[in-house]
């Protein structure tokens, strides 16, 4: 290897990695001095090594050991949140959002890992420029899967290829897809004993199916996460006023109605601002059904949705919605588990 007769490919890599010593090292140095092609390759590889991101911690997300960095682990898609119901990215890089994930899991995250979803990508796919500008965010699991299975459009595939080439964590994630795909293709063990689905899994599925959240509502009627949070805040902030309305002190009751039948309903504006508390009367409550009669003029809330919040302390709070018609609202709790039918509050969003 004294001249250009053979290009020392592996040796150049070892030379750049600093694992070459002695005569071999000198030989590579001499070769690089003589061969402009190998020198260019070495320059590119050195630049790539410099550019390569190491796992963001003493141990990377997928177990790669590397130099630690003081910054928090970057996590999230390079894709901006598309905003549509099917394409919501719940994995923003904001650490503060980490607590929201649990709530959003059942609502939205099912879409995240699903292959072949219509995620409304459009031009929201990662681009080479975005990768070059900000390599601190990992590719989303769904994007990694699409890249692995060769489903990304050309430009997004190039961006993903660029990222995976320099990101140890995402490369390791790819190894998981490679392993699982190989396993799936390797064999069918359907006859293996004890493969019946566990009760726990069925419980999870049943719980979801019986959950009222499983029934899609029109988007404009479904209270979003921010609205629910605002409502829970208002329940705390205006506790006294709500209790006063519930006790009926400000609102003279009709003969024959008891104070316990007054239901305070919080009225919010479309931006979540507090407008007031309106007394509704619980006129009947057969099993699983609740009817509330507004004491306001019949047209005030006509045709507006009314929401009851259940189990606010649970990881997955539930909302049962109904519609007010001629001052009367009906809420159907038929799909809710028995132990949960005790609304912590009711609210209306008034435009």
């Amino acid at each position: 290897m004294s001249s250009k007769d053979r290009h020392p490919e592996r040796e150049i890599l070892e030379f750049i990695n600093g694992t070459l010593s002695g005569l071999s090292r000198e030989a590579v140095e001499v070769h690089l001095a003589q061969c402009s092609k190998c020198a260019a390759v070495a320059a590119v590889v050195s630049a790539l090594k410099k550019q390569a991101r190491t796992p963001s911690g003493p141990e990377g997300e997928f177990g790669n050991k590397g130099p630690s960095q003081s910054s928090p682990v970057a996590y999230g898609s390079l894709l901006p949140s598309p905003g549509g119901p099917g394409g919501v990215s719940t994995h923003g890089p904001s650490p503060a959002g980490s607590k929201d994930l649990e709530f959003n899991d059942l609502l939205q995250e099912a879409d995240v890992s699903r292959p072949a979803l219509n995620r409304g990508m459009g031009d929201a796919r990662p681009t080479l420029e975005s990768i070059a500008r900000d390599s601190s965010a990992h590719l989303h699991a769904a994007d990694l899967a699409s890249f692995f299975y060769g489903e990304l459009p050309k430009e997004a595939a190039a961006a993903a290829a660029c990222h995976v080439a320099i990101c140890a964590d995402c490369a390791s994630a790819i190894s998981l897809y490679a392993d699982s795909d190989a396993t799936a293709n390797a064999g069918d063990q359907s006859t293996s004993p004890g493969s019946k689905m566990s009760e726990e899994n069925w419980r999870l599925i049943n719980e979801w199916e019986e959950n009222c959240l499983a029934n899609p509502r029109p988007e404009n009627e479904a209270p979003n996460r921010e609205m629910l949070e605002r409502f829970i805040e208002i329940l705390r902030e205006h506790k006294e006023e709500i209790e006063r309305v519930a006790s009926g002190r400000n609102h003279p009751l009709e003969i024959g109605t008891g104070a316990h039948q007054i239901v305070p309903v919080v009225v919010l504006d479309s931006s979540g601002g507090f407008r007031g508390v309106e007394p509704f009367q619980r006129i009947s409550r057969p099993r699983g059904l609740e009817a509330l009669q507004s004491q306001a003029p019949p047209n005030r809330f006509n045709n507006l949705p009314i929401h009851a919040l259940l189990g606010a302390e649970r990881k997955y709070p539930m909302v049962v919605s109904g519609r007010i018609s001629r001052g009367c609202a009906e809420l159907d709790y038929g799909s809710v588990k028995t132990g949960l039918v005790q609304p912590v509050g009711y609210f209306i969003v008034e435009n």
Binding site: E9, L13, E14, N17, S36, A40, V41, A43, V44, V45, A47, L48, K49, Q51, A52, S56, G57, E61, F62, G63, P72, V73, Y75, H91, P95, S98, V112, S113, R114, P115, A116, L128, E129, A132, R133, A141, L144, A145, G150, A158, A161, C162, V164, A165, A168, I174, S175, L176, D179, S180, D181, T183, A184, Q189, S190, S195, K196, M197, N201, W202
Partner: protein, 213 residues
């Protein structure tokens, strides 16, 4: 059958079909999750991931386009769920430690002063670095044709990991690793040559415009 049952809203039939399906593929979900169980924080986390994966399979079945094996589809969902979980765990850990470090640090002023005083790269150097990053991104996007190429660049070329180890980790043959590495080099040289980069100096000093095709 599952899809048909779901389509006609026959939940009992859909459940029955799904149970059969899970009976058939549960081993696969178990394998995917349990093979990486050491990455999860607690002994029971794997079961949680399995439950969530099963749930997502149930929700995602209607999206299956029958373009590949159902097993691959299910493995993909389970793997994505596993990756999401592992990332979430690491992110939460990092966030906790970052918060703890911030709370424990009572000398913010001096840290800020040190940061301001620390010499950073000049604007020209930053521009050159940015230019080089863009050029490298284009180079990688052009020379890496699929995930295997990206892996070879990452593991073999940048990290210096042996071909056998890479082959084992990603289910390739050792020969394929060498073959891909050689092809990558050829493509890299062509890419450089197409842009008039014939020496290391040209590349390192960024004298060639990155976007020149």
């Amino acid at each position: 059958m599952f899809l048909a049952a779901t389509g006609r809203r026959d939940s009992a039939a859909a459940h029955e079909c799904f149970e059969s399906l899970i009976s058939r593929y549960r081993w696969l979900i178990n394998h995917v999750v349990h093979s990486s169980r050491w990455r999860l924080p607690a002994w029971d986390s794997a079961d949680d991931v399995i439950c969530r994966a099963v749930f997502k399979v149930y929700k995602g079945l209607s999206q299956w386009r029958r373009q590949g094996k159902l097993g691959s589809f299910i493995a993909r969902i389970a793997t994505s769920e596993l990756i999401d979980t592992v990332r979430r765990v690491h992110r939460d850990k990092a966030w906790d430690s970052a918060t703890a470090a911030k709370e424990g640090n009572t000398d913010d002023q001096s840290v800020m002063e040190e940061t301001i005083a620390a010499p950073g790269p000049s604007p020209e150097a930053q521009a050159a670095m940015c230019e080089q990053r863009i050029m490298l991104a284009r180079l990688l996007g052009d020379v890496c044709k699929d995930w295997k190429d990206s892996i070879i660049v990452n593991e073999y070329i940048i990290s210096g990991i042996g071909a056998k180890e890479i082959a084992d980790k990603y289910g390739m043959t050792e020969d394929l690793v060498y073959q891909r590495a050689r092809r990558l080099k050829v493509r890299l040289l062509k890419w450089l040559s197409d842009r008039g980069i014939t020496s290391a100096d040209q590349f390192l000093t960024g004298t060639v415009v990155a976007g020149r095709a």
